[in-house]
Amino acid sequence: MPAISVRDLRKTFQMKRKSAGLRGSLRALWRPTYQSIEAVRGLSFEMEDGELLGFIGPNGAGKSTTIKILTGILHPSSGEAAVLGHVPWQDRQALAFQIGSVFGQRPQLWYHLPAVDTFYLFGKIYEIDDSSLKRRISFLAEAFEIEELLETPVRKLSLGQRMRCEVAASLLHRPRVLLLDEPSIGLDVVAKQRLRMTIQRMNDMEGVGVLLTSHDAGDIETLCRRVIIVNHGEIVYRDKVSALKRRYLTVKTVDVRYNEQLAPDFSLPGVEMVKVGRYGAKMRFDTRVTPVEPVISGLAAAGSLADVTVSEPSLEEVISAIYARTEV
């Protein structure tokens, strides 16, 4: 049984529309007009037990809405979903014992208290007995490297430290599935890496499945084997991250430098010359059109090579290309 399965999930929000000015407000009060927003439009996907699944998409794509539906705090307009065998919106409380969630934009730790106070509170809320809770807290404190931070009021922690505490708090009750909505929001490079490491570690050690949304391709690249890309509430891509790269990372950029002067009309068939200098050149080609082998041998034949650099677009660029392609 998959940990999460979603079939043709839809969510349409009804928003009261108000025209500007007092007159508009009064009219809205009297006869409100509604605007519907289709946040999720027929999503279907599955997440295996213990899987790290990336769930990405541009702003407003419907990621948070989907996650809210999966935690049971939002009712879909139609469609089916099962999380660990529960229909989330019918079984919210029972499900709450088995899943953890972190909303990067909605901290759950009490701001003025040390994180450990919230940990104890959550422990009680999840009905964990005291000695198991103690063991659990010290285990998580070590795994997340937050032993030193637990006694400090949360408001005095850096964002990265706080987010590690947030994720640790969501794992107190040993959930089978963790829903992480932008946990890396606002973190610097180092803090992001530490957070990724800890998520990876918990996945290794406890096999907790993670559905992860992020605007950072790096999060997905380092953590997830599989990724789902949504735009305008629909899935526009789903596959292994490696396949995504293989499929889209076909445009290579080559920088060459020679020990001798190049012929001024230097060119290769099927290769777009971006810049040609006296001792070097920069060029681009698509491996689906032009095979690699003749390009490299052509380069070698052109003179005595001093240096070659081959680069491909970042995952980030690939993803933005997919977003752009699916823009309507």
């Binding site: 969510k11 929000f13 009804q14 809405t65 809210k68 935690t71 049971g72 705090i73 939002l74 009712h75 919106w89 919210r92 409380q93 029972a94 709450a96 014992f97 969630s101 909303f103 909605r106 759950q108 009490w110 003025h112 208290l113 450990v116 106070d117 919230t118 104890y120 509170l121 959550f122 422990g123 009680k124 809320i125 999840y126 009905e127 964990i128 007995d129 005291d130 000695s131 198991s132 809770l133 103690k134 009021p153 009750h173 040993r174």
Partner: protein, 284 residues
Amino acid sequence: MRSKEAGALTGEGRVREHSSAAVAGKYWAVFRTQLLNSLAYPIDLLGRSLLIVLFMWIFMNLWRVTYGAVGASSIAGLTLADTMWYLMMAEAVMLSKHDLSETFSEQVKDGSVAYLLNKPFNFILYHFASGLGDSLLAFGGNLLIGSAVVWLMVGPPPGIAGWIFAGAAVVLSWLLDFCFSALIGLSAFVVEETNAFRWIYQKFLLLLGGVLIPLDFFPAWLQTISLNLPFAWIIYGPARLFVEPSLARLGHVFLQQCIWLAVVGGIVWVIYRRVVARLVINGG
């Protein structure tokens, strides 16, 4: 505080049978955490309690003149000292009750109510436990400072029975007030602006609840009306019990409070069930 956590509940692994001890433990923990949270800012807490000094000073001047003008040592059975101690208790309750309706409406409007629903607890009880944590401290502060001031003005407070009886009744007062707050707060799901309701409720408490004047001073007809409304049992009930702690009065106050709790609490419960269903459909 933390070390006290050791070894209360036993059993191996996680407790999952939802024993009533575990469920009560949840709300106790919420209450305790809110208490800790309020204690994080002791100056703030003290500041909140200073308002009562001003109120008592104004009341003292007002009632001294009134008693002087009437020329009697007691009005409707209350001496000046009784009246002042009554008002002290009334203000202490009034100033320490935690206005949840505002928190509620805000959480409804900005959608954060949803994030409280992803944990295994009852949203209403959660708020009550946390509100109680907040009220208790404020009440303690108000009582301490208020009594010090009134003691200086009119002499010693009523006997120990008054403190115990009033204390017990105040807990029910908070519960009843909480139900009203919840009702106002929940209305945020239907109407966008709840301030009007809040304003009306406050005024009912002030005028018919006995915050400004002991209801005994009202003309008979107005007294009858007030005593048959719930507001009196939030403020007047415990405050009057404080200065006249008889068992008969205690029984009467409890009875009234329980009746109103059943009525208003029942309404809240019904509405809450419907609202949660709606909320989950609409999203905050």
